[in-house]
């Protein structure tokens, strides 16, 4: 029954497996399975919190290593050392052994200590350096004040002691002053010198002034170069200040205020010689500090540079290792037999591969106890695993964005691979735009490897869909040829089927009409003679509208056929007779008939027969509103055919409504009459969720008991798992009414079917109308490109001479850019969204259930691709 191999047509066959792995090689086995990426493990310890699990200690340890590695990375960024990124396509990392991981942990521990101590000493030294620099500035600037002030000591004294000194006194004193070398302390004037941030100066001054009531003399100078704050590493501009004041208390106050304003106060001697010594000393110390600083920096950089070479690889190893332990935490541990028990889903056809991987690991470890893998039967819904390749991946993604297909139903991505780009192309039909798009798609495919590294989000998105773009562009080339549009101009590839009827006395401006050739029609696409005519739109609108209806009909009929394939695969004949057949008849007797009429009307030569062609829209409306009334006849016997079809369609409605629910009830009652009972009636289970809980609880009791009271109960725990699963298995056979599970409730089934019927019948109409978007979008695209041409290239090509040539170059640039941005990117995105909707709504609603859950195997490859925090380490 099952196909020999998994194909992309349906999701892969899945098996629930149980693994018994010896405790010693648990880590290695999980590692190997992670490389394989084919098993999704179930959590067997649902009742345990994250802290109670067996391998939480190891995870904590690895978390610590990861933190240390991140610390190195931060330090590297600070020091401006480039990280050597790891390219997983080129470098392969061998799975590490436990000792390697331990070594790594130890090494990063010691490295962290080293780096942080280096960092610490670097910071202390840096602080010292800043202090010394500040002091030097203070000495230099304050020295300047003193040199200036000493000259004026007498003057200061005079002005402070003697208020009524004559105004000219200072002129007289000036002559005597130079030889007077007296000290401030003699005058009981003290001073405070220091450095303060420039933006605080104003506040500092005000506070000093207010607290000391103006009893001070403050002098300041700006330090020309900004100083680096060692704590924040930001440059700060600062001022040197010197404050003179009377008395010790006041000086103490000033010191306090300076401290509170976070100014640095430095010791400056008022004696010029001492000051000179101080400057020398400061300079010497500064030189020392700087050379030590340089050394420290060099050592740190060397250390970090060495780490940078292998940091990425370590990071990847640690994150893999963590994932392994997280997975091991899902396993249940049988203490008595020292065995890990794991449960999970895997593709049935890959079981041999998994088995041989297990065998390999066991052999390599030299263990006599084999690892066992058991397939268990269960009625749980397996996950949907749709294999993809480079080409189908993006198509599958746009389908999965809508939902996950039910296990084993027809993969909706199969038709989408062609219908999605084709319907896009119907809306995007322009040869010129399609060729540009094709070039872009081909470029992305040709330079696949280098372009893969680009992380810019919008580009990455376009790059991800490169194969979709390729198929879309190829189909757009075809539709462009059919529409005979290249940048809104037409091509004269074949001889036209029209001639102009030219009167003998033709003058420009006179209206001419076409004359159809006898037995020749334009063989491929739209006749170029229509291009630029006055009734061009009249013709193309009628043509494109009909085409939209026909393509929509074809698309929906095709999609509906998958409903038949699904029903047959799931062995639900009632879905064929109760849903598919009446639905198909309903749809075909209305819209199939319309399509046949469209084709028929095209094949009749109404002009030569001199008959009035009927309006098909009116025909369809009258078919419903006044059955039997024919406005303008299309063919003989039309009346009876239409009444017959209408009756046929109407009869399908009750069939759709009642056949399936009543059949299901009959089948259910028959089964009961034979004595079958559903599992749900025996035990107290109500829903699938409860069932799952109960299973978990059962295991929980088993395992928990085993853990608490040792050997005897463990066996029971395992047995309980098995029993539970057996029970589930019974359930699967007994209550198998298709997808609805256990109990049968007629009311529910009936309501479901009523909704389905109403939806289906209404959707037949609304979805058909929805396909008119194909016409609307293709009209909009064609008109927009025509407008762009007439606004840029049209007038430019009319000009002549050198000015005309320059104008042409400029307008061509504008034309090309606007074509790319508006007509290709914007219009392309809009056409894509419309086509996406046609796939999601109009097509999928006909056959797909989307009731599955995705298969998410434990896989390192996937982990590396998805982990955000590893992005910066992977090249």
């Amino acid at each position: 029954m099952a196909p020999a191999k998994d194909t992309p047509f349906r999701s892969a066959d899945m098996s629930m497996v149980q693994l018994y792995i010896s405790n010693e090689i648990g880590r290695e086995v999980v590692n190997a399975l992670g490389e394989l990426g084919l098993v999704q493990f179930r959590d067997l310890n649902g009742e345990l919190s994250a802290f109670q699990r067996a391998f939480t200690q190891d995870i904590r340890r690895l978390d610590n290593v990861e933190r240390q590695l991140r610390y190195f990375h931060a330090q590297m960024e600070k020091a401006g050392i480039a990280l050597r990124k790891l390219d997983l396509d080129v470098d392969t990392l061998a799975p590490p052994t436990t000792t390697e991981i331990d070594e790594l942990a130890e090494r990063s521990q010691s490295l962290e200590q080293r780096v942080s101590s280096l960092n610490e000493s670097y910071e202390t030294l840096k602080k010292r350096e800043v202090e010394l620099t500040e002091w030097r500035w203070v000495l230099r600037e304050a020295g300047g004040f003193f040199d200036r002030a000493h000259g004026n000591v007498d003057e200061i004294r005079a002005s402070s002691e003697n208020d009524d000194a004559p105004l000219l006194q200072d002129v007289e004193h000036h002559l005597a002053a130079p030889e007077v070398e007296r000290s401030f302390s003699g005058m009981n004037i003290g001073f405070v010198a220091g450095v303060i941030a420039r933006d605080r100066v104003a506040a500092f001054e005000r506070i000093l002034w207010r607290t000391l009531r103006g009893n001070l003399y403050m002098n300041q100078a700006e330090i020309p170069e900004p100083l680096v704050d060692p704590a924040t590493n930001e440059p700060v501009t600062k001022n040197v200040f010197v404050i003179f004041a009377h008395g010790k208390e006041i000086l103490a106050k000033i010191r306090k205020i300076s401290e509170s304003m976070s100014a640095e106060v430095y010791n400056v001697d008022e004696n010029a010689d001492l000051r000179r010594d101080q400057v020398h000393e400061v300079n010497a110390r500064l030189g020392d500090v700087q050379s030590v600083l340089r050394n420290t920096q060099q050592t740190l950089d060397a250390e970090l540079a060495q780490i940078a070479r292998s940091l990425s690889a370590w990071m990847v190893l640690v994150s893999k290792e963590k994932a392994v332990y997280n997975t091991l935490n899902l396993f249940s541990y049988d203490r008595a037999r020292r065995t890990l028990i794991a449960e999970g889903w895997c593709p049935t056809h890959d079981l041999p591969l998994i088995r041989s991987t297990l065998q390999d690991v066991t052999n390599r470890a030299g263990l006599s106890v084999p690892s066992i893998i058991n397939e268990i039967r269960t009625n749980k819904t397996p996950p949907t695993y749709l294999k993809t390749n480079k080409f189908t991946e993006a198509f599958q993604t746009i389908v999965n964005a809508y939902g996950t297909a039910t296990y084993q139903e027809v993969n909706p991505a199969i038709p989408v691979i062609i219908t999605f780009p084709f319907l896009f192309a119907v809306m995007f039909g322009d040869l010129g735009h399609a060729i540009i798009m094709l070039c872009a798609a081909l470029a992305m495919i040709y330079w696949e490897k280098p372009l893969k590294k680009i992380t810019f989000e919008l580009f990455a998105m376009a790059f991800y869909g490169r194969y979709i773009a390729l198929v879309m562009a190829v189909f757009s080339i075809y539709t462009g040829l059919i529409y005979n549009d290249i940048f809104s101009k037409s091509m004269t590839l074949f001889e036209s089927s029209w001639d102009w009827k030219v009167p003998a006395d033709y003058r420009p401006g006179q209206t001419v009409i076409g004359k159809l050739k006898d037995d020749y029609r334009y063989p491929f696409g739209l006749d170029w003679r229509w291009h630029g005519t006055e009734n061009d739109l009249l013709f193309t609108n009628s043509y494109k509208m009909k085409m939209s209806i026909i393509l929509g009909w074809a698309h929906m009929t095709y999609s509906l056929c998958f409903a038949y394939i699904n029903a047959r695969h799931f062995k639900r004949p009632i879905d064929i007779w109760g849903n598919f057949v009446p639905g198909m008849i309903f749809f075909q007797s209305i819209f199939g008939y319309l399509v046949v009429c469209i084709f028929y009307k095209w094949t009749v030569n109404w002009v030569d027969l001199e008959l009035q062609p009927p309006g098909l829209l009116n025909m369809l409306i009258y078919m419903f509103l006044q059955p039997g009334f024919i406005d303008v006849p299309l063919y003989r016997g039309q009346k009876y055919v239409q009444i017959g079809l209408l009756l046929l369609a109407v009869v399908q409605v009750p069939i759709l409504l009642f056949l399936k629910p009543f059949y299901l009830r009959w089948e259910h009652n028959r089964a009961r009459a034979k004595g079958y009972r559903g599992i749900g009636e025996r035990s107290s289970r109500v829903s699938a969720l409860d069932e799952d809980d109960e299973l978990r609880q059962g295991q929980g009791q088993g395992n928990g008991g085993g853990r608490l009271s040792g050997e005897s109960e463990v066996g029971e725990g395992v047995a309980m798992i098995a029993r539970d699963l057996d029970e589930d298995d019974d359930d699967g056979h007994g209550g198998g009414h298709g997808g609805h599970g256990g109990e049968f409730e007629f009311g529910e089934v009936m309501i479901h079917q009523v909704i389905h019927t109403i939806e289906f019948c209404l959707n037949c109409v609304s979805h058909t109308a929805s396909y008119l978007r194909l016409w609307a979008l293709s009209l909009a695209h064609q008109q927009l490109s025509a407008v762009l041409w007439s606004m840029t290239m049209g007038p430019a090509l009319g000009k002549s001479g050198i000015g005309g040539a320059i104008f042409l170059v400029v307008t061509f640039a504008a034309f090309f850019c606007l074509s790319c941005v508006i007509l290709i990117i914007m219009e392309g995105v809009s056409a894509m969204l419309h086509s996406l909707r046609l796939a999601w709504v109009e097509s999928f609603s006909k056959f797909a259930e989307f009731g599955g859950w995705p298969f998410a195997p434990f896989s390192f490859k996937q982990q590396m691709e998805e982990a955000e925090e590893l992005k910066e380490y992977l090249g």
Binding site: K5, D6, T7, P8, F9, N389, T392, I414, P415, I417, I418, T419, F422, V426, F475, Y478, T479, I482, S497, W500, V502, Y506, R507, P508, G509, Q510, T511, V512, I513, G514, K515, L516, Y520, R521, Y522, P523, G525, L526, R529, W530, G532, T533, E534, N535, D536, F539, S542, Y543, K546, M547, I550, L551, A554, F599, W602, T603, V604, N605, W606, D608
Partner: protein
């Protein structure tokens, strides 16, 4: 040359192409993908061509324009 029979001839050609795609699709697990994609695109393209051809087979309106220059009117 190109008259109403073209539709039938085209149909014969695409049926042959579909059969060829069915039988010569590369073997392997993606065979179903090749078959479905090739046949679906052949049929879609044929459908579009046929619609366009049929729409012009017996047109109900004739092209009309009044901006033709004298020297181009016979082309």
């Amino acid at each position: 040359m190109a008259n109403g029979w073209s539709i039938i001839i085209g149909l014969v050609i695409i049926v042959a192409m579909c059969l060829a795609s069915w039988f010569f699709a590369p073997k392997g697990e993606n065979q179903v993908l090749w078959r479905s994609s090739l046949i679906l695109s052949i049929v879609s393209c044929y459908l579009m061509w046929a619609i366009t051809f049929l729409a012009q087979l017996h047109p109900l309106i004739v092209p009309r324009r009044s901006d033709l220059r004298k020297e181009y009117i016979h082309h």
